[in-house]
Amino acid sequence: MKKTKETEEYFSVFIDGKPESKGKLKGLTFSFKDNICVKGIETKASSKILEGYKPLFDATAVERIRGEGGQIIGKTIQDEFGFGSFCTNTGIGIKPPKNPVDKERVTGGSSGGSAAAVKVLDNHVSIAESTGGSIANPAAFCGVIGLTPTYGLVSRHGLLDYANSLDKIGVISRNIKDAARTLSVIAGSDGKDMTCTAEKKDYEGYLGESVKGMTIGIPKEYVRGLDPEVEKGFLVTRKILEKKGVRFKDVSLRKNAEYSIPTYYVIAMCEASTNLAKYSGLRYGYTEEIENEHYDNFYSRVRGSAFGEEAKRRILLGTFARMTGYRDAYYDKALKARTILINEYKEAFKDCDAIMHPTMPILPPTFEDAKKLTPLQNYMLDLLTVGANLAGLPHISVPAKNTKLPVGVMFTADHFDEEKLIILGESLE
């Protein structure tokens, strides 16, 4: 595969490589979101603070892809450490990628480079990561498939953590078959991640199964106030499934609609601020000369000059929400709210196989429009994806048919029911 203008735009590192002819993943090339460690290849989560960092080991997902003949061709650009919904919060000195469908518009984020690469490269799959919707969102905006597995199904060993209780490694691909065969390779317990204990299923074995008789829940709170084009794409998708014998029913996610955004952001920022504490400029990545100074001064200076604007904002908010006097009102409260929100999903799954709504309430915005949003307005746009992520539920974004710009339809299933997402996704191809 040759280096082109497009690969330069979506990749932080590009390695020339041809697909291999052996293994379960033969014939495919792979890229990895820049927060997944690939031995000897610069891995920096699109942040200046990790400039020049070349890991001494492969992440488990990388090791498993290599083991099955997957040819690795590079690292993809993302919002710095995953802090964004448009891939416009790339770190200092890193250009945000443009949406391959319309260059005036954003790719979505945070795995924007991954979704764009899959859109333009044939026989290519990107291994991405989602904390609050970072796989589904860019997949929807770029018109490709984004599969986020259950929390703990894919090992996080070798992932540069954003929020440990939320991070999930998953797959962005052009078709369901590639998503299913890639998941079959990367999923399954790993002794190097104590939260990764589940045994995988034969996901490819579900290809070709019928959706007839499945029941889909539609949360009324999640299909209000949509862009008309998004609504059109959603209704077209619903009609296709109805014709194939899927039954629909109303479910309620009222508490998630009201409280999932603050719950998610408080937990994610608290965890992020502790995870980012290790980047000090001393052991790896970006550094400066040590003057005759106290170490606090050195660390603060390096961090102040290498973290980008949104990373600093989240460090501040997360540190604040964990401070004595505020911790009970924010962090502890959010952890309890999370229990209530998970239970609401569990209740809904008593009556349906999966939940369906649009992935994003809007079409991919232009760079100009995205710039006008305040940080809070930005966070609010994640409403439809954060609930499933908080609850660690598997979800998939599938492109809707006949829309002027890409629209994603999202299906969420109960924990470890990935096969239902594969069956539903395939029925829409």
């Binding site: 001393l282 550094t287 005759n292 050195f298 501040l316 409260k333 809070l376």
Partner: protein, 93 residues
């Protein structure tokens, strides 16, 4: 606004994050807006509700305790701040 700026300064100090005066000004204004929105959580009754540190109950599985090769010395390749096989930091006092 002065109080908010002090709070940002204190938080930044705890987070070991140097900020310029312009950054302190900007973040102190935004902090109010974001925290006000997050305060919505206070409406939700949570008495007697357990905290969810993970999305579901995870029984942590530990691997076999087999000695392996430590990566410590290799890791020094990644920094220029080193001396005699150790990291060289700035002073503690």
């Amino acid at each position: 606004m002065g109080g908010n700026k002090d709070l940002i300064r204190k938080t930044a100090r705890l987070a070991r994050l140097h900020l310029t005066e312009e950054e302190i000004e900007k973040y102190s204004e935004e902090l109010v807006e974001v925290l006000e929105a997050f305060s919505k959580l206070q409406e939700l009754g949570t008495s007697g509700v357990e905290r969810s540190l993970h999305p579901y109950k995870i029984s942590a599985k530990l691997r076999e305790d087999v000695p392996g090769k430590p990566s410590g010395r290799d890791a020094l390749k990644l920094t220029k701040h080193k001396k005699d096989g150790y990291y060289k930091s700035s002073k503690l006092q």
